[in-house]
Symmetry: C2
Subunit: 325 residues, 2 copies
């Protein structure tokens, strides 16, 4: 039952001095960082669209099946990635789930293990939740709350023409498994925000070309990508090789797959150069971040790609968009 | 498509000076009330459990079918009710939905109309959201963010033996339609918090007897309900009459139905007496609130009922609990 599950879960949560009123009440009351603004974002993941659940699909299928623990991890990670894209300090999450009535307990236990592991690793408090059961697939919604100093949030609509575009790591082919092991760039974002000028930022959830277009369009500008400079993840090479009939190159995967959860940053040229010249370890010890300059913000609307020979042409914007009619 | 729907929706939202970064970015940045603590809560509603959707079920069925507009209203209302139960000033909501892929657009439009109407009426900003589509029923999750002065939140674990228990209005039979037209007691809670001492509070979502037990148990105490004093809603009378074979009295409905979203307050006796002696209109103009004393917090754990003749017996705790195994 919900009530018994929830009381046991609450009993297991560590005490957190950032909570004035802890989970178990009608709502949680937080003690945020001083002199800061609350930053809030929500993501909802559904079985069948955002993940295929192990034990409920064909094993060996592509994309790989997810354990409930991985689902709990991913749901928190993608919301924290949105805070990273604002350069916000992550502070708390609240988690709402709709569990299948049959088998829901085992799913709830594993899901919770995934949620508590990543919240602990990211130094975030699990401030509350809502546990539901129904005769339907697994749904999980995570709201993340963070804080940022007044006027210091990275927006997506403030890029300037001439800014260079930096991506924080290789992209493409995430569906081979990285889409379940998302590592939000929270610490990296905070470290960059402290030491570099960033005009605009967005995280790559739906695809590099689509998310970059969102950033440049919101800023009233366009983007020019240096195609040879895009860091293509080895998974993008593998996926292109695994699906020879899909007609996609590794670069296509890098530009369109999404679920990379790397950051796209629009930075003044000198700042971008300084960032890529800085050892990532000097910013965040042990980080896997590898910042690369991949293009620039231009005055002409739309997205263009520049080939190695210097020729330019419009780039088809590919990425994930939920369809409903 | 999600992206087109979302941009149009964002374009229609009123500007709100409480938002430093408005919806449309990776996250929203808020300007909360000064010298306050953030209060956060989440509720998730699923089709088939929390509502039956008009056009997708049998018309004339009981409980009554909900329009998507009513679902949007209810989802926001129940989260705001949790803020009311903390005496928190409601400030913002973020809304995540999973829409059925077929017919999702019409549902999304209506749902949004319901959400924006209640947020406007309650003076709350719609700070963000996540729009998903899938091959499944409608799911909506609303996270509400409010604020409360440090140390001033109404908790549920701080009732004291001897406190009187006040309910803010009649209860029972909400499934006849009030469960879709939830009016969260936000203004009422703030007005009471300003003028009266309240030791503990909870909102009645799952049933008076269950929610009162949650409050008294969390406070290390028990509850004694004066059964004749419980304000039984006319809907509870109607529902008992409509279902003569269910074996439930109107009082059973009042104690166990839930979805009333009235507040239960544990108050020092003199304060409770002063509250019920105060004209509700003097607290909140036009309110439907009718505070009534229905019992007291006692030292003995559990819930007991006192009949009109003064006899006492243990009361079965009834209410809604999500079942999963």
């Amino acid at each position: 039952m919900e009530s018994e599950f929830v009381s046991r879960l609450i009993g297991q949560l560590p005490r957190d001095r950032r909570l004035e009123v802890p989970p178990g009440d009608d709502a949680a009351v937080l003690r945020p960082a001083p002199n800061s603004r609350p930053v809030i974002t929500v993501d909802l993941l559904t079985e069948g669209v955002d993940f295929l659940l192990a034990g409920r699909g064909q094993p060996g299928a592509f994309p790989p099946l997810a354990t409930p623990r991985q689902v709990g991890h991913k749901a928190v990670a993608v919301s924290l990635s949105d805070l990273a894209a604002m350069a916000a300090l992550p502070e708390a999450v609240v988690v709402a789930v709709a569990l299948p009535g049959r088998g829901g307990r085992a799913i709830a236990e594993e899901l919770t293990a995934g949620v508590t592991a990543i919240t602990a690793a990211q130094g975030v408090t699990l401030a509350g939740g809502d546990t539901n059961a129904w005769d339907g697939p697994l749904v999980i919604s995570v709201t993340a709350l963070g804080s940022v100093a007044t006027g210091r949030a990275w927006r997506r609509d403030t890029a300037r023409v001439g800014d260079l575009i930096v991506v924080t790591g290789p992209v493409g082919g995430s569906l081979l498994g990285r889409h379940l092991a998302v590592q939000p760039r929270c610490q990296e974002a905070l470290a960059i925000a402290r030491r570099f000028v960033v005009h605009a930022a967005i995280d790559i959830s739906d695809g590099l070309s689509l998310d970059l277009t969102r950033l440049t369009t919101a800023s009233g500008a366009g983007g020019l990508i240096d195609l040879a400079a895009v860091p293509v993840h080895p998974d993008a090479e593998r996926l292109a090789a695994l699906q020879p009939n899909a007609g996609k190159t590794p670069l296509d995967h890098a530009l369109g797959d999404g679920e990379d959860f790397e950051l796209l940053l629009a930075m003044p040229a000198a700042e971008a150069a300084r960032l890529v010249a800085t050892a990532p370890d000097a910013l965040v010890a042990g980080t896997s971040m590898r910042p690369t300059i991949i293009g620039q913000v231009v005055a002409t609307a739309g997205l263009r790609g520049r080939a190695a020979d210097g020729s330019e042409q419009p780039l088809a914007v590919k990425g994930f968009d939920h369809a409903f009619d």
